[in-house]
Symmetry: C2
Subunit: 379 residues, 2 copies
């Protein structure tokens, strides 16, 4: 007998309602029945995105929607500003490079958040910059970006603000309209508690004006075609029907809980996790800017970080994530996002304690769990 706990920053565990919806017989997508589902899903996404703008459902990984943002907004030789504070920020630069867009890159030390003032400095220095590409929560480091502050700056310029909110939307606050986010990109397998396979993208008026004149080649990710289709409650290409049906289920759950309560739950779980790590004598990788989505923790001296993650997963069924790229073996990432609640966090910390003990790390057994319990009790 083995129970599995998934505490990774995507995919996150599926609510039973989602499993049941995915297991239903399929229906055809060009029917009134599916049109009602597509309509409800699109409206529900607007609630989570906190926007009145169009939100489109794409059949792709989140990266597909990132590509959609780049190719619909910009043309080759256009100037853009990208923020790299981890693996996913780098993806914006790679996408710009791939389409001949001239990316001015702000390199931020991994574990730190970009200074909004640096963005203003670059925008002032180069008035040709047409788009600023940022990341809500950098999954590779756990760091959250101050999108609200950046939005206030970008609004003063001709540039649009694009946010990769794949990790974080529906888990931490992002007010698309109020904060001036022109294009917000997300995916199904994180805050939305679905399997991967769907991406979402919102488009503001300012962004549509830019799309109208952009010349990058595009077909599958052409948002102008998607816009025409959704006006007839349709999609340009066959959508991932089962995932859209399950999306309606989670959107109903999210609406019932309310965004404020969802954000509070994530904040409490993050606080409990961070308290537990400190109580175990572990050091947070990003102590000042760590998000409520995932916590990156430094692997203590003398412990094999990859072995820690593998043992938790293969011996005890608790999956957390290791470090990516330059952080491989140096950090582990403990996610607290999606269909996860306090006793999952307690179970995850207990497993971490067990394996740390087995690997010879010295600490008082139970200290982490107790610290987490204290946080949960207070809230």
């Amino acid at each position: 007998m083995r129970k599995n706990y998934l505490l990774t920053p995507g995919p996150t565990p599926l609510p039973p309602e989602v499993c049941q919806a995915l297991g239903r017989p399929i229906i055809h997508h060009r029917t009134p029945q599916f049109q009602a589902i597509l309509k409800e899903a699109t409206e529900g996404l607007k609630y989570v995105f906190q926007t009145e703008s169009d939100v489109f459902i794409l059949t792709s990984s989140g990266t597909g929607a990132m590509e959609a943002a780049v190719v619909n907004l910009l043309s080759a030789k256009d100037a853009a500003l990208t923020v790299e504070s981890g693996k996913f920020g780098e993806r914006w630069t790679e996408l710009c490079n791939g389409y001949g867009i001239l990316a001015d890159v702000i390199k931020v030390e991994w574990g730190k958040a970009v200074e909004p003032a640096e963005i203003e400095k670059r925008l002032k220095a180069n008035p040709n910059i047409k788009a600023v590409f940022t990341t809500l929560c950098e999954t590779s480091t756990g760091v959250a970006t101050d999108i609200e502050a950046i939005g206030k700056i970008v609004a003063k310029y001709n540039a649009v603000l694009v946010v990769d909110a794949i990790s974080g939307l529906g888990a931490i606050d992002l007010k698309t309209d109020a904060w001036g986010v022109d294009v917000c990109v997300s995916g199904s397998q994180k805050g939305f508690m679905l399997p991967p396979g769907l991406a979402f993208i919102s488009v503001s008026k300012k962004a549509w004006d830019m799309i109208a004149v952009s010349k990058s080649p595009r077909y599958y990710f052409d948002l102008t075609v998607a816009r025409k289709a959704i006006q007839k409650t349709d999609t340009p290409f066959t959508p991932a029907i089962s995932l859209v049906i399950a999306l309606v289920e989670v959107l109903r759950m999210m609406k019932q809980d309310g965004l404020e309560n969802i954000f509070k739950r994530h904040h409490t779980m993050a606080s409990a996790t961070k308290a537990a790590m400190k109580a175990l004598g572990l050091e947070l990788f990003a102590p000042t800017a760590s998000s409520d989505v995932v916590t990156a923790v430094k692997v203590p001296a003398g412990i094999d970080g990859e072995k820690l993650v593998k043992t938790m997963r293969d011996a005890y069924g608790v999956t957390i994530a290791g470090g990516q790229a330059e952080l491989k073996g140096k950090v582990f990432r403990f996610a607290h996002m999606g269909f996860i609640e306090e006793f999952d966090i307690i179970a995850g910390i207990a497993c971490l304690e067990k394996v740390l003990k087995e690997l010879g790390y010295s600490f008082e057994l139970g200290a982490g769990v107790k610290a987490a319990e204290e946080v949960f009790l207070k809230k």
Copy 2:
């Protein structure tokens, strides 16, 4: 109480094994457990594609893999040949146009198949043509293309042969390697009996040589990156995990049945359907080139074709497809593909008879069902 029958050319009904697999708790994609699944899925796809070449799983609709074929093989200003014998053939031309590729278009009357000799004529006339884009089964008309004959021709030239086999692969024969198909594209929701959301693409040695020098911008659909990833049993971006897990289930079923038996079953169902239509006094839209995947039938004079499809679906739960684009209201399309067997066909024909009677069409009740039964009894 209402039972639903899905007799549309995609999505096709899901086997219960697929429904169950989709409803399982999710697992993380960067684990040995998922790697084993990805490996089995990739090997199984090679069996269905009848190829020794690489086959990649993309998270997108089939159109995404069509775009992957175009942008990986060709550069702007390259010459290509596209065959348009329906809505999906036109998509190849649109994709080429979108990426600045110069498409020489063979326009074939809807309901007819392209003459292979015409392809040879065009290749001779323009030695710059680098790729020939065709369609295995044109879903909008039900017509099958003679890919084997075209493959023999294209093999003599420097061009690669690309086949949109989204509709048809795993239902009718396509020998990727033996017929000289360089790039074969398919999707999950037809012969593969899964929900939509995955696309598949095979790449021959001749195609890789062309990819090595092509310059079209690409990122999400970059096959060179996918190739590097699969060598480490990985995907470049988060895959649609649940669909890949369900894919393994159908591939096991398909291997157990054997391709020959699967093709025979589809041929018998197609023959029974066509016999039934004739017995009802209905005319096939493509009497000479109709595929074993879907049968397009002319709506008889005096009958409202859209009402026929709607009544079957909304009053009796049997979903067939209407005509697309220029065929809207003029044909209906009765699919016999995927997880469908003889008694589904009988049910579908009985429902068609019932609604035709209600709409005032004159024929002997039961004649269609009897003709189909005769075909099934003989085989």
